[in-house]
């Protein structure tokens, strides 16, 4: 496989990803890369998107696991209130699955239990 299909490239820096686009090395993540992954997902990052992405990164940092959507909704609700801890709100930001898409942008593995 050539670099273009198995990695993100920014200014000749290569970031390897798996076949679904999830970053292989969590520690390589940076904001510029997040913007690039988001572009691939056809998402334009707004402060609301960043809020979810940063929230996921903090969650992973604490628990070493990417939360399933149901868990994400509940945890968001607790931190940001019912307006944002809401499945519909998250789907509006990340139409192809908030947990999957936002985790990819956050540089995290695909959530366990994403069936």
């Amino acid at each position: 496989m050539d670099a273009a299909t198995s990695a993100y490239v920014i200014d000749s820096h290569v970031y390897e990803h798996d076949e679904e686009g999830y970053l292989k090395n969590l520690s390589e993540w940076n904001k510029e890369l997040a913007e690039l992954i988001a572009k691939d997902e056809k998402i334009e990052m707004t402060p609301e998107h960043w809020e979810v992405v940063n929230f996921l990164r903090d969650y992973y940092d604490e628990y070493q696991v990417a939360p399933a959507i149901r868990v994400l909704v509940k945890a968001m609700k607790k931190t940001f209130g019912p307006e944002k801890g809401d499945q519909k709100y998250l789907y509006e930001l990340f139409p192809y699955g908030p947990a999957k898409q936002a985790c990819k942008i956050a540089g995290l593995p695909k959530p366990t239990g994403c069936v």
């Binding site: 628990y63 939360p67 399933a68 366990t112 239990g113």
Partner: protein, 141 residues
């Protein structure tokens, strides 16, 4: 209607962890299965016995063995509505461990202003046998 149908198929699943956290893949695989199964809204509990009790020991550090320290993930179980972690007292004692050696694992009670409540229950071998006998499904790892 749909709720009724779901109620009828709700079963109690207990995941029985008998092996030390690292060295084999059993502990990590069991935890992943548990997280996946949580999506199906069944009644899930975990049991830790034999060397499985080491999975819950606090202060794990895997830097020297090049494996991911997945012990913090047990603390996320409450978010997945898994609130019953049974630990066999005899297995702890045989290994010179007490409840003090275990991580604090809690779940948050939304009905009670997110009060943190303990998920770990230390039970005797006899008590665990009884809890096991009540399960619909036991899965051993």
């Amino acid at each position: 209607m749909a709720d009724d149908a779901q109620q009828q198929v709700k079963k109690s699943f207990m995941y029985v962890n008998r092996k030390a956290p690292y060295g084999t893949i059993y502990a990590l695989e069991a935890l992943e299965v548990v997280l996946i199964s949580a999506a199906f809204e069944q009644d899930v509990s975990l049991a830790f016995l034999d060397d499985g009790v080491f999975q819950l020991v606090k202060g794990q550090n895997t830097a020297g063995i090049g494996m991911k320290n997945f012990s913090p993930t047990f603390k996320a179980l409450g978010d997945y509505e898994i609130r019953q972690l049974y630990v066999e007292r005899e297995s702890l004692e045989e290994r010179g461990l007490t409840s003090e050696d275990l991580m604090e694992i809690t779940w948050e009670d939304e009905e009670d202003d997110y009060a943190k409540k303990p998920s770990i229950r230390i039970v005797s071998r006899m008590e665990l046998t009884e809890v096991m006998a009540q399960q619909d499904v036991l899965l051993n790892f």
